[in-house]
């Protein structure tokens, strides 16, 4: 809640962080000013790359009181305009899962090393970032305290879609999920389809996991993206963000 008489400020900048294999990669970093301690968030970007929407979202999280890091998961694939780099990664079948988890672990360790962080860290992503967020929730050696998966496709994968870069369907890691999970999905989405979301939900129930899924009618893939008019679904987006803030307050606050 904003108090009109309260001091407010944030800092946001590009930093270098150690990712998978100790590689130095770039990350966008945004944090509220003040001594804290603040909870922290890791944002994993979507297929269109390390773009403006994710920078804005990092600043939005900082505004809401979270020290936030968003690594360039395509750092090793080239530099330039985000979509030019992303086009290359799209053609190559996406970022390798192991590398993403390694980059995430580097970022989580960095966040927990900061003197103004409580130690609680959540992870959130959309599209492929939602899938990666779930993977991190299951496979991170650093561990996270909350996972937000927004319409992550390919959590359920038919065997013919497995590849060297994505050798295991994330749903097969469900037993290893070590943090509460919030999932936001649209009924009109092709990836994940409502049936795939239901299959994932059944696996979470079987394993007795702490999760909440919300399926929005009249919403498809990417319903937070106000810069894609075809995808944006205002009602679902407003409610979805409220659910995220509520979930994170309960799990990281």
């Amino acid at each position: 809640m904003t108090d009109t008489r309260a001091y407010e400020g944030l800092i946001a900048e590009t930093i270098t962080v150690q990712g998978d294999g100790g590689d130095s990669i770039y990350a966008y970093f945004a944090r509220p000013l003040g001594e804290g301690p603040f909870p922290a968030m890791l944002l994993l970007h979507h297929i269109p790359g390390w773009d403006e929407w994710y920078r804005e979202t990092a600043r939005r999280y900082a505004h809401h009181g979270y020290v936030t890091i968003c690594p360039d998961l395509y750092y090793r694939d080239g530099s330039g305009e985000p979509e030019d780099v992303a086009a290359k990664v799209r053609a190559e079948g996406g970022a390798p899962d192991d590398r993403v988890v390694g980059d995430a672990d580097g970022c989580i360790a960095y966040l927990r090393s900061l003197p103004y962080v409580t130690g609680k860290v959540g992870v959130m992503g959309t599209c492929s970032g939602g899938r990666h967020s779930f993977l991190v929730g299951c496979r991170s050696s650093e561990g996270v305290d909350a996972v937000v998966d927004c319409w992550g496709g390919n959590v359920v994968m038919p065997p013919e879609n497995l590849s060297e870069r994505q050798p295991v369907a994330p749903i097969d890691y469900t037993a290893d999920l070590a943090a509460p999970l919030l999932g936001l999905f649209g009924e009109n989405d092709f990836s994940p389809t409502p049936d795939q979301v239901a299959e994932h939900e059944a696996a979470l129930q079987r394993e007795g996991k702490d999760y909440e899924f919300h399926m929005y009618p009249n919403a498809g893939h990417g319903f937070f993206y106000y810069n894609y008019p075809q995808a944006y679904a205002a009602e679902a987006a407003v409610d979805g963000w409220e659910k995220i803030w509520d979930f994170l307050e309960r799990k990281l606050g």
Partner: protein, 89 residues
């Protein structure tokens, strides 16, 4: 990547990106999320030269219907061109 429908084709040609021509060495063909076209999925063509950096790219995003029509047109014109070249040989 969301659809996993993507291929890289090695080709040789020329493309114009912003203000310069460059030699095209690869084409990325995908049926996946476009960057600009207002559809969830599109037939995306990226004519690139990986040796010149990620900025050496000409991008085209088409509806599936238009992509099919374009492919048919290309094949028809190639056939007509082959006849012309055969006649002049």
């Amino acid at each position: 990547m969301c659809t996993m429908i993507a291929e890289k084709v090695q080709i040789a040609g020329s493309g114009k990106s912003r203000d310069r021509w460059f030699p095209i060495a690869q084409t990325y063909v995908s049926f996946d999320h476009p960057f600009h076209l207002q559809r969830e999925h599109a037939l995306n063509l990226d004519f690139v030269n990986e040796e010149l950096g990620t900025g050496a790219r000409v991008a085209v995003e088409l509806t599936p219907e238009d992509a099919r029509e374009l492919a048919t047109t290309i094949l028809r014109l190639l056939d007509e061109g082959a006849e012309v070249e055969a006649g002049s040989a």
